[in-house]
Assembly symmetry: C2
Homo-oligomer: 334 residues x 2
């Protein structure tokens, strides 16, 4: 019944902690290439589906109407670190719609990136909604709303026109049924729909290949992948998983982390979509799981595979920089 | 085989993440009052045993020789937030031994407390070893070393006189065998010895009651409990579990969190020692587990029990402050 142990944290010669989880590797037509753990149980993808949530902004033509840049499109898919560049880009997106941060309904938090947070504190300022890691996604919602001719106020509500478009895009990509009983509220106040991991993986296979999507949506998916591949720092931040993996691999992979231990990825060249969830919500475990799957299914040469090793088996250092342990894959991922 | 699910994180009507774990409630003579999960498996207590590690400083007479204050003794048991007060207290401890931060071997990190870290950044400064959350423990080691007439340099090594004393005190309190094969290196570079959860709980029963300890060690344990009860902000920091629970309950409980999902506690009035470990290393789960055990075994009136509810079932808020879920106990703790 319990999902298998998939990641272990060692200290010295002993296992200090262990993470259980599930994962799926799926083709766009739904064929399962690999699955471990309960991949039918519904999980909240959280921010891992930001690229799917950004599809309506592009496929509707709103992004082109407002002249959004690739960097701005990448920010619409981002859980950004709250650096100066991220904030400036979010502000610019809103300006294209004739708005400013007062329209944002995501709430305020200190930058997700520790260095970015300290830089803001050092400057003597405090954060506003633009620093929220979801501000690019929300700015995208505002842009879409304005081009649709709909008042943005209340755009986070499930029955707002924007959220209806977003839910329809997620449902079309994943094949999941986004009913009210599957719905929670995300950290940034928008609806969060739970769905089976296998549907999530399929959604990413379709995001990666365009297969099974309408022509407009297929084009939008390609535009998003290209924008993020060109701006990996925009989609997360320095030192963070999505940014570092995509900086290393380029357009070979599109990876997106969500809160509570979810990571999804597309490997467009192979046609595969991947999704993992650490049962306990640990990001460190989900990232190791995903790195192991990317390495296994990415079709890399030995040199590239070796460069993925720091993500598959991160070293754990003490404050003097000495290695005291590691994360490592276990069970079906060992 | 797998430990039971003991804490669940909900979002809307669904369980988003779940934590497995083990826990033990034990009397000083070793009698088990409650146990769930595998309590014989060795776990690293990490910072949860700082009070045991501080015993030699007191029982040797070193603290009295140097005139350490209660606040300084509390800091010797602390995983502090790196606030101005914490740093000043650590500096003062070292000054009593005629030393300064250059003697510390714990390494440097930005303050554990987010607000404290931003305050430091805002001041334009960067951290030194005094900001390390373990600086009080290390300052205590330096004090002990100096009073013993031993050169402090290398005091983090397992064979340094200080670490031998520390290991002896832990072994005496817990009854655990601290052999080399049970040893890893902690985040602050000192030895970390793994031991069964049940031994850890017993050590805290003895720390709480003095039962089974030498007269000097019993007196030292009482001094440490009183010092921490008088200075709950010193031992962690504002908003953190140990500080908040001890601020609420006073000397009724001595609680100490360690990294990777460990919390230990003594309930001196009941004679009980408590120890929990979240399998996955999640602090949020371990704190909920411990809060539930404290509430169950603390013998509280209804009003006090109700005031523990925010620790037993913390609300999860989005960035607008709306409740989107909760942590809650499950399985043997439900």
């Amino acid at each position: 019944m319990a999902n298998p142990v998939v990641v272990e944290a060692t200290r010295g010669e002993r296992i200090e902690s262990a993470h259980r989880g599930a994962g799926a590797v799926v083709e766009a037509d739904g064929r399962i290439i690999m699955a471990f753990g309960d991949v039918e149980r519904a999980v909240y993808p959280r921010s891992a589906v930001k690229a799917l949530q950004a599809l309506p902004l592009i496929e509707s033509g709103a992004a082109d109407r407002l002249g959004l840049s690739d960097e701005e499109i990448a920010l619409a898919c981002a859980s950004h670190s709250g650096g100066e560049e991220h904030v400036a880009t979010a502000r610019a997106m809103l300006a294209r719609a004739g708005r400013d941060e007062r329209v944002l309904e995501c709430g305020v938090h200190w930058p997700l990136g520790e260095a970015e947070g300290r830089a803001l504190a050092r400057s003597g300022r405090t954060p506003n909604a633009l620093h929220n890691n979801c501000s690019g996604k929300h700015a995208g919602f505002v842009c879409l709303s304005c081009v649709m001719g709909v008042e943005p106020k209340g755009y986070v509500a499930p029955d707002h026109a924007v959220q209806r478009e977003v839910a329809a895009a997620i449902a079309a990509a994943t094949g999941a049924r986004l009913s009210e009983d599957m719905r929670g509220v995300d950290g940034c106040a928008i609806p969060a729909y739970a769905m089976p991991l296998i549907a999530l993986a399929r959604g990413f296979a379709r995001l990666g290949t365009g297969e099974g999507l309408s022509a407009a949506r297929r084009k939008a998916a390609a535009r998003i992948r290209a924008a993020v591949a060109a701006h990996p720092l925009t989609v997360a931040g320095k030192g963070r998983f999505d940014t570092e993996v995509m900086s290393l691999l380029g357009a070979i992979v599109f990876a997106k982390t969500g809160a509570e231990g979810v990571v999804c990825a597309a490997l467009p060249g192979t046609g595969l979509g991947l999704a993992v969830k650490a049962d306990d919500g640990a990001g460190r475990a989900a990232q190791v799981m995903m790195a192991a799957l990317i390495r296994r299914f990415g079709g890399f040469d030995d040199e590239t595979a070796a460069r993925l090793q720091p993500f598959v088996a991160p070293r754990l250092l003490n404050w003097n920089g000495a290695e005291v342990g590691r994360l490592r894959t276990a069970g079906p991922l060992a």
